[in-house]
C-alpha cells in the first residue's frame, strides 16, 4: 500500500498527528518534526512540500488556496473545511478521502476536504469526489 506523507500544520497540532497515524495508510508528522520553525511563512511551507515529497494538511483556507498555489508548484495541500477541527473529525475526513479511491489526485494539487466530499483543483479544473 502506498503511504501518504502528511505534514500537519502547526495550528492543528500533535493530537491530530497521533490520530492520523492510527489510520495506517498515512505517515503524518508535524511541521516541527519536519524541521520547520513554528513561525515559518505560508510560502516557504508550501514550497517545501515539493522537496519533502509530502502533502500539507492545514486549516488555513484564506491564504493557502488554489488561486495562489497552482497545481505542480508544490507537493500538495489538503485544507480541512471545518471551523472546529477535532482530531476525530479530521481523522474521519481523511479516512473517507483515502477510501474514496481518489487520494492520488491530491498530490501536487490543492484539495478542500469536507465532511461528505472533497474538491480537488487539478490542471483540468476542479473535481468533486463524493464519499
Amino acid at each position: 500500500m502506498t503511504h501518504i506523507k502528511l505534514v500537519v500544520d502547526f495550528n492543528l497540532g500533535p493530537d491530530h498527528v497521533d490520530k492520523l497515524n492510527e489510520l495506517g495508510a498515512i505517515k503524518a508528522k508535524t511541521t516541527i518534526e519536519y524541521g520547520f520553525n513554528p513561525w515559518t511563512g505560508d510560502d516557504d511551507l508550501v514550497r517545501a512540500t515539493l522537496d519533502e515529497g509530502c502533502i500539507l494538511l492545514t486549516r488555513d483556507r484564506n491564504t493557502i488556496n488554489e488561486r495562489i498555489y497552482k497545481p505542480c508548484t508544490h507537493g500538495g495541500v489538503i485544507i480541512i473545511e471545518n471551523p472546529h477541527p477535532f482530531p476525530e473529525t479530521v481523522f474521519s475526513y481523511v479516512k473517507a478521502f483515502c477510501q474514496s479511491g481518489k487520494r492520488s489526485l491530491a498530490e501536487h494539487c490543492v484539495t478542500h476536504l469536507y465532511e461528505d466530499k472533497a474538491i480537488i483543483h487539478t490542471h483540468r479544473g476542479s473535481e468533486t469526489v463524493q464519499f
Binding site: G13, D15, W39, P83
Partner: protein, 148 residues
C-alpha cells in the same frame, strides 16, 4: 433648474446621467439633487447631485480599510498578536507563530480552557500569549460592533 425639454430628453443611461451632473455642477458645489421623467415613460427619476455613487466593491473596500484600521489599533494594545504579511497573509496571529487568533478561539472551544491550549502547544506557546489573543479578539469584536 432644468428646462422641460431637458427633462424630457433625459434618460437613465450613464451618458445622460453624467452630462446632467456636469451641467448641474456648473451652478455650484455640491450640485443639487435633480429629478424628471424618463422620455416616453411615467417613471420619475431622481439624480443625486454627488457625481460618484459608491458601488458594492467600493463599499467592500471601505469596509476592509476600516477593519484593517481597527486591527492596527488593537495590535498596539496587544503586542503578542501580529498582522505581519508573512504568516497567514496578515490574518491576526500569535506573534511569530503559525497560530491565528481564530485558531486560538477554536482550540479553547475544543479543549475548554486556556491552560489546556497552552499545554497543547507547549513549549512554543505560553498562557499569556493565549490570553492576549483572546483579549485581542474581544477588543476587535467590541470596536467593530460598536454602533457609535
Amino acid at each position: 433648474m432644468m428646462s422641460a425639454r431637458q427633462v424630457d430628453d433625459y434618460s437613465c443611461n450613464h451618458e445622460n446621467e453624467m452630462s446632467l451632473l456636469a451641467q448641474s455642477s456648473s451652478h455650484g458645489w455640491p450640485p443639487k439633487k435633480r429629478s424628471g421623467r424618463i422620455a416616453g415613460g411615467n417613471r420619475r427619476v431622481t439624480v443625486r447631485g454627488w457625481p460618484y455613487r459608491p458601488r458594492a466593491h467600493d463599499r467592500e473596500a471601505a469596509f476592509r480599510r476600516r477593519i484593517r484600521f481597527i486591527l492596527k489599533e488593537c495590535i498596539k494594545k496587544h503586542p503578542e498578536v501580529s498582522i505581519e504579511k508573512g504568516i497567514f497573509d496578515g490574518i491576526p496571529h500569535v506573534r511569530e507563530l503559525r497560530l491565528s487568533v481564530g485558531d486560538v478561539l477554536s482550540q479553547i472551544y475544543m479543549r475548554g480552557s486556556i491552560k489546556a491550549v497552552a499545554d497543547y502547544y507547549a513549549p512554543h506557546v505560553t498562557e499569556e500569549q493565549i490570553k492576549e489573543a483572546v483579549a485581542f479578539a474581544q477588543d476587535v469584536l467590541e470596536i467593530t460592533c460598536d454602533p457609535h
